[in-house]
Symmetry: C2
C-alpha cells in the first residue's frame, strides 16, 4: 500500500497552484508525510472539454495486488471560471452555457462517485471576477476593451456549482461568496481579476483543509508515513523501524 | 498509463521542499502538465534508517495491466546532512560513520537501479554548513553551545556521495561545492546554517532541472498531458480531444 492520494482537478487556478505560495503546494507541504497531492490542472479548460477527457486524465490503475484500484482519499473539482466566459466576448470559445455547465459538473461528480465509492469529492466554485482588472490584463487580443468575464456571470456558475453539490450531497467551497466578504477582495485575492494572489491562494488552501477536516481527513486522522523523528528513541533509533 | 513520476527521496531538506519557494514545489510547478513530483522526505533521517525502510517507502505497485510496475522517470537521493552530525555532539544519535554512509548510499542506489532499469537516479550531496548559525538555531537542547555539524564533516560526506555516484556512473549534484562558490553562501543559501533559504531552494531547483535535462528529461522531451490551450482551435475546440 502506498500513501493515500489527494487529487486536484481543475483549470488554470489548479494548474498553477504549485507556483510560489500556491494552494496546491501548500496542501502538499501540509500533508508532506501523510498524503500525496496529485496535480491535474488544465489551463483554459472548461467542463465540456474536461468531460471529454476524464477517462484519459484518470486511467484505471490497479493496486499492489494487481486487482482492485486504490481510490484517492479526496479530490477537488474546480471548474467554472472558463465556462463563465461571456459568449460574445474575446474568450467566447471557452464559454459553456450555464445549463450545460451544471450538467457537466453533475456528470463529472458522478464519474468519480461511481468509480471511487470512498473518495471525498469537494466542489469549488469559480472565484469572483474583477472586471476592471480583466481589461487591464487581457489573456490575448481584446480589441473591444471589454471584460471577457463578469462577476455576475461567475456568480451564476458558482450558484449552479453549489446546486449540484447540494443535490449530490457533497461538500463545496463557495469561493465566489467567501472572497467577496473581504472589502478589498479584488486587490487582496486576485492578481489579474481572475487568478489568485498569495492571499487568495492561502484562502483556498485554508478552505480545502477545513473541508477535508470536516470529512474526517486531517493530520490527526491520516497516519504518518514512518515514525516522526521526535518519536525515535535517541538511545535505540532502529527500534522505531522494527 | 498515468503520468510519468519523479520521486524526491531524502531528509528534511526534501520533506520541507514544498514549503513556499521550495525546490520540490518548483519542480512540481515546472512539470505541472508533464510529470508528477512525488515527495518522500523524512526529516531527521539518515541513510541507516532510510535503508531499513526502503521497501516500505517504495512498495511494489503494478501498472494498469495488473502486471509490470511502471518505473519513475527520475529519482533524487538527497541524504548525508544527518549522517554527518558529529558523533560526540548533541545530534549524535543521527550520526552514521563515513564508511557506512558510503556503503548505505551505494546500497540505496543499487536498490533503485535493480528495481527500475530506466529510472534516472540523481545523487545530491549534503549542503555546506554554517557552524555559527547552527549554534544560534539549535534543533533541541545544546547545552555545550557547540555546533552539532561542521562544514568540514559535511564536505567529507559530500565527497563520499560523489565517489559513489562516479563509481555507479550516475549523475550527481555537488551542492556542498556549488553553494560555496558564492561568497555570501551562508546568508544567501542557508536559513539556519543547514536548511535552505528561498535562494538556496532556487539553486537546488535549477541544478535538478539541469541534471534532468542532461539525462534527456525536460519539458521538450516529456509529452504534455492533453493539448495546451494555445493548441486548441478556437473555431472547433473539441477537435483537439478526438
Amino acid at each position: 500500500m502506498g500513501r493515500p492520494q489527494i487529487y486536484l482537478f481543475g483549470d488554470s487556478i489548479t494548474e498553477i497552484s504549485f507556483d510560489v505560495g500556491g494552494w496546491g503546494a501548500s496542501l502538499a507541504n501540509h500533508f508532506s508525510r501523510t498524503a500525496d497531492v496529485v496535480l491535474r490542472g488544465y489551463s483554459g479548460y472548461n467542463t465540456r472539454w474536461a468531460l471529454k477527457v476524464l477517462d484519459r486524465i484518470f486511467p484505471v490503475s490497479r493496486g499492489g495486488d494487481g486487482g482492485t484500484e486504490t481510490a484517492p482519499i479526496a479530490l477537488t473539482i474546480f471548474f467554472g471560471a472558463n465556462d463563465a466566459s461571456l459568449p460574445n466576448r474575446c474568450s467566447a470559445f471557452q464559454h459553456v452555457p450555464l445549463d450545460e455547465y451544471k450538467e457537466n459538473i453533475r456528470s463529472t461528480v458522478s464519474f468519480f462517485k461511481k468509480r471511487w465509492l470512498t473518495t471525498k469529492v469537494i466542489l469549488i466554485t469559480p472565484p469572483p471576477i474583477d472586471e476592471d482588472a480583466r481589461v487591464r490584463y487581457p489573456f490575448g487580443n481584446n480589441p473591444e476593451g471589454l471584460p471577457e468575464r463578469t462577476n455576475e456571470a461567475a456568480g451564476e456558475y458558482a450558484k449552479a456549482c453549489i446546486a449540484v453539490a447540494t443535490e449530490c450531497h457533497i461538500p463545496f467551497i463557495d469561493l465566489w461568496t467567501k472572497m467577496q466578504q473581504t472589502p478589498d477582495w479584488k486587490k487582496d485575492y486576485l492578481s489579474d481579476g481572475l487568478h489568485l494572489t498569495k492571499e487568495g491562494n492561502q484562502l483556498v488552501f485554508e478552505e480545502v483543509i477545513k473541508k477535508l477536516r470536516d470529512e474526517g481527513l486531517s493530520l490527526e486522522s491520516i497516519p504518518i508515513d514512518l515514525p516522526h523523528v521526535s518519536d525515535i528513541d535517541p538511545n535505540d533509533p532502529l527500534k522505531a523501524f522494527l
